[in-house]
Amino acid sequence: MNLTAKNISVKLGGKEILHDVNYSFKSGKRTAIIGPNGAGKSTLLKVLCLLNEKFSGNVSLDGKNIRNIGRKNLARVMAILPQERDAPQDTTVRQLVSFGRFPHRKFFSGESAEDSAAIKNALELTKLTDFENRQVISLSGGERQRAWLAMTLAQRPKILLLDEPTTYLDISHQLEVMDIIADVNKKFSTTIIMVLHDINHARLYGDDVLIIKNKKIFAAGDPKTILSAQILSEVFSVNADTFTNVAGDEIIFPIKIIKKQC
């Protein structure tokens, strides 16, 4: 499915957060959105799925304005994992994942065979099958993140939006989550749009990168060519080294902040 943002501007409390953003997200690919804090990355993500409704411009899904699709229909094809979330203390992993079927259920019906299959599948993809009866609150940070991710996967989305999916996780859990996302993208050709902080995750796991700075798209394209030490100094004002790791991937390593000249 083609997701296109056209002339997106967002104002919040008189302050402009995004200014005339235009982008056509590549279907079936993984797009990483990066940029400094407060640049408008999360806001753009929320506009794309209508979590933020107060924007000017137009977001279209296969040519249809998403404002006219209807929330429930939208949730059947697009899922978002936001940062702000909550679950009652006694919620089990399976219960949480089953909420992903909410947009697919009819008003009266119970869990259909398709629902059960989607839930089982989501638990397998996130390697949580053995944890399905555990309470979410008893899980480690990484497992909990996988449980929330599994909820969005149970939605069986064509487009999956992720807001900083690896924040607060240790390095091995970060890679685990990124691998699951890559796996889902490969298996189901799910379009992935994710806000990331780690430049190297964007390089290694992104097919496409969107750099946002000062309310606008600063640069976009293939992360392997776009993400360089040069761009890091321009976007984040940090000096960086690049080197090649054992796998042959180029890695960017931030060294120190460039002092602003007054």
Partner: protein, 317 residues
């Protein structure tokens, strides 16, 4: 499953206890018709005990469901029918009518209902700004309740000769509740319970936070508005019949949650039955402990319920 069955059993037990006990004893065999009743007892059972017991059950159901809904909608453990102005609105209008027209029972009920709904709507309007944020509803509720509470105090002072009746009503009681009150309550109980049970899944999703719920396709503002209206109708219908029996709407849903967990599909029927059990059993005690004198059920419920609730809380945490 066993737990919810036990709560159901408690509700049934409450129903029979309430029918059997009072100044005249009636046995269970007489109630189910195995042993014939004499005329006086039949009159007592049919025209006094039965309507009073049904009112108690319906009030318990309405207030508990109202509180359970509001806890989900406001995402706040202190949310109860007081928060959305039900008690202060009903209180001000009910007492106003009592003071002006004397103890005109027939007028107090509709006036209290109108007052409750007006206060709830006012709070909702004040809290609306690009949608409903729970914290704004709660703060607007506190402010409006304080304002209306001042009105209640003023009335009580100006008409101090009629304070006794007003005080009884504010504490909440079930004495002399009859079939006409059942008729007032029943439509709200049936429609409200049905609407509430059908919304169980929406309340479950609402508990995940606004952003997650929206991402799952829930129209959060619309659902909040509708559910708040249902909660307001349920609580207003109860309060206008039995007075400000506020305690049930806060403690019963919490107790049900501690016993049954937070899945609304189980929590809602559990809370409804627990509410019915608590009010019927409390009322039975309230009218038999100091027999022939009668204690307003609100006082007894708060005195027994609060310590029990604290006990449950200690066990859980």
């Amino acid at each position: 499953m066993i737990k919810i069955f036990l709560i159901g059993l408690a509700a049934v037990a409450g129903f029979f206890l309430s029918l059997m006990n009072g100044s005249v004893e009636i046995t269970s065999a007489q109630i189910i018709g195995q042993v014939p009743l004499d005329e006086t007892k039949r009159q007592i059972l049919e025209n006094i005990r039965l309507p009073r017991t049904i009112v108690a059950m319906l009030v318990g159901v309405n207030l508990s469901l109202s509180g359970a809904i509001l806890q989900a909608v406001m995402k706040n453990p202190l949310a109860d029918p007081h928060i959305i102005g039900i008690s202060s609105g009903a209180g001000l209008f009910g007492i106003f009518v009592m003071m002006i027209f004397g103890d005109a029972g027939a007028l107090v009920t509709p006036a209290a209902f109108i007052g409750a709904m007006l206060a709830a709507s006012l709070i909702y309007l004040l809290a609306w700004k690009d949608g409903i944020r729970p914290i704004r509803v709660i703060l607007a509720g506190v402010a409006v309740s304080a304002f209306l509470g001042a009105g209640i105090s003023a009335l009580l002072i100006f008409y101090s000769d009629k304070v006794h009746g007003a005080l009884l009503w504010m504490v909440g009681g079930l004495s002399a509740r009859s079939w006409q009150h059942v008729e007032i309550l029943l439509p709200y109980s049936i429609a409200g319970t049905l609407a509430t049970f059908l919304s169980a899944r929406h309340m479950n999703v609402l508990q995940l936070g606004d952003e997650v719920a929206t991402g799952l396709g829930l129209r959060v503002n619309l659902v909040r508005t509708i559910l708040t209206a249902i909660a307001a109708l349920l609580a207003a219908s109860a309060v206008c019949v039995v007075g400000l029996l506020g305690f049930v709407g806060l403690i019963v849903p919490h107790t049900a949650r501690l016993i049954l967990g937070s899945d609304y599909k189980i929590l809602l029927p559990g809370a409804a039955m627990l509410g019915a059990a608590v009010v019927t059993i409390s009322d039975t005690f309230a009218r038999t402990i100091f027999s022939p004198a009668e204690l307003p059920v609100g006082i007894l419920m708060a005195m027994l319920g609060a310590p029990f609730f604290l006990y449950l809380l200690r066990c859980e945490l």
